[in-house]
């Protein structure tokens, strides 16, 4: 295990070291101490390494992640895991707004709550939140899955495409073109697998599925007057 004291080593050096790890590295386990809410910690990683951050992080932690596993032993600031491509991010505390925005793959797990705009414009990432999420989550979500064990705020899935949402609690309101959908056996099986992968103990049959009504996909002549 390599330990980096961020307050001594500095952000650029820390990220440079982590980004320099290749697929064949034998230094696969890293620990970052004294994060002190700094921005952009462990961004742009592209190797199958595990990085554990001992404390809370600021903006854009683990952004653009590929292959790596990043554990945050604290809460995470805005834009955590932005544009994640693959790998895994686990947040032990809460996550601030626009978690996993535009994420294209991989998995993000939040043990606490996630704030507004969780998974905005998601494009393939899977996000599992043990608590609740804020308003405008998964706005324009294109693909991937957002799983919420608690409640969802206003305008869930507004203008969504093919992203899927599974919510166990209440949804304050659904966004434009987002509707409740039937929870079929295939969805329960899929959700069980995702919850297992996220290490969260919840009964998939208690969730409701939401997704696109597909009415906003294409130009509709009846809407011509609106342009």
């Amino acid at each position: 295990m390599q330990t980096i004291d961020l307050s001594k080593v500095g952000l650029r050096e820390t990220n440079k070291m982590l980004q320099a790890q290749s697929a064949e590295t034998n230094q696969t386990s890293w620990e970052i101490v004294n994060p002190r809410g700094s921005h952009a910690i462990a961004c742009g990683l592209n190797a199958p390494i595990e990085v554990t951050i001992k404390g809370s992080t600021g903006y854009y932690c683990a952004g653009m992640n590929q292959q790596a596993t990043v554990n945050i032993h604290g809460s995470a600031g805005p834009g955590t895991g932005e544009n994640i491509m693959s790998g895994k991010i686990v947040i032990e505390g809460d996550a601030s707004q626009y978690l996993g925005a535009t994420g294209q793959g991989g998995l993000i797990v939040v043990k606490g709550n996630a704030s507004s705009r969780c998974g905005i414009s998601m494009k393939g990432v899977n996000i599992v939140v043990q608590g609740s999420i804020g308003h405008m989550s998964a706005f324009m979500g294109q693909s991937g899955n957002l799983v919420v064990c608690g409640d969802a705020g206003d305008a869930l899935g507004d203008s969504c495409y093919e992203a899927r949402f599974f919510v166990r609690g209440k949804v304050k309101s659904l966004g434009a073109d987002c509707i409740k959908k039937e929870m079929r056996e295939e969805h329960i099986t899929f959700l069980r697998g995702l919850l297992d992968e996220a290490g969260i103990d919840a009964d998939p049959s208690e969730f409701t599925r939401y997704g696109s009504a597909r009415k906003l996909y294409n130009f509709h002549v009846d809407n011509a007057g609106a342009y």
Binding site: G37, S38, G58, Y59, P78, D94, Q97, S115, S116, H135
Partner: protein, 307 residues
């Protein structure tokens, strides 16, 4: 951008360290707002006396003999404590209006008035502004600070935050208001004095106007959610405590921390990391369109707004 910090002490033994803690928080927020900085501090009150903080670009001239010059208007002794470009006037209670009129004639700007509140703000890096006013040496019960990255109006002392909204009341803002021009015209027609082209000053004037018409600060903040268009995280200071409200979109960041010793506000968690006991504090983000208050007089309240 802009950065906001706030600290409300529950543990009175920390009061001598309020300025020091708040200054460290303020300086951490420099890269959110390097243009100007300001702080509002509630340093306690003296029975029978009121306070005004005033500012002049030519302090040597403006503040010399100021106490004596104001004595007639104040109807009693006026003590002047000069701190760089600012001075705190200790005046007889009830003389604020007359002293203000006299100051106007002398071309001296009033930054704040009340019994306990002092406001210090200037153009420059937060660390320089803090050093100029020796903010770290100040003690008090609670205070709020602001680092400004200007978007809507010029970088000037009067465009810096906090803004004084009423006796012992002040406002800081992160965000931008988009209907401030029309609202400024409306408020001016209502007879509200607005000095600059700054959007936040309009927000502050709006709260003043609402309260002059009978609203409580809480009610004024509630109605701001209807009448102000734009992005805002507001932190307001009152004699007894502070309040927080975010617009319904809530894209401007806000983090709160609470322990047995204090309630703290920061635009980012970074601003809070050196506070005592932060590792075990309750840390959370205030909900959108919800007015929060902490007061030395009663229990904390959060009023949900049907947004």
């Amino acid at each position: 951008m802009c950065g906001i910090v706030g600290l409300f002490l529950k543990d009175r033994s920390l009061e001598p360290r309020l300025g020091e803690m708040l200054t460290a928080m303020l300086i951490t927020m420099t890269d959110r707002g390097p243009d100007s900085a300001g702080i509002a501090i509630y340093g306690g009150e003296t029975p029978g006396r009121s306070k005004m903080t005033v500012q002049s670009d030519d302090p040597d001239k403006a503040f010399s003999d100021l106490g004596a010059k104001l004595q007639d208007a104040a109807g009693g002794p006026v003590n002047v404590t000069v701190k760089s470009t600012h001075a705190v006037l200790d005046i007889p209670a009830g003389s604020t209006a007359k002293v203000r009129a006299a100051l106007n004639e002398m071309g001296i700007r009033v930054m704040s008035f009340g019994d306990s509140l002092e406001i210090y703000k200037e153009v420059g890096l937060p660390k320089d502004v803090a050093a100029r006013f020796e903010l770290a040496k100040m003690s008090g019960t609670h205070g709020i600070g602001h680092t400004r990255m200007a978007t809507e109006s010029a970088v000037t002392t009067m465009g810096a935050h906090p803004f004084n909204t009423g006796p012992d009341q002040c406002l800081v803002h992160n965000g931008s208001l988009s209907n401030h021009n029309s609202l400024r015209r409306k408020l001016r027609r209502e007879g509200i004095h607005i000095e600059t082209e700054n959007d936040t000053e309009v927000g502050a004037a709006y709260l003043t106007w609402k309260m002059q018409n009978g609203a409580t600060l809480g009610e004024a903040l509630e109605s701001s959610l209807q009448d102000l268009d734009g992005f805002f995280t507001f932190v307001v200071g009152t004699k007894d405590g502070f309040g927080v409200v975010r617009d319904p979109i809530a894209c401007k960041p806000a983090v709160m921390a609470e322990t047995d010793q204090y309630v703290a506000f920061g635009s980012e968690y970074r601003a809070l990391v050196d506070l005592p006991g932060i590792e075990t504090a309750r840390v959370w983000e205030p909900e959108p369109a919800t007015v929060y208050f902490w007061s030395h007089n009663d229990t904390p309240t959060a009023t949900e707004k049907a947004a």
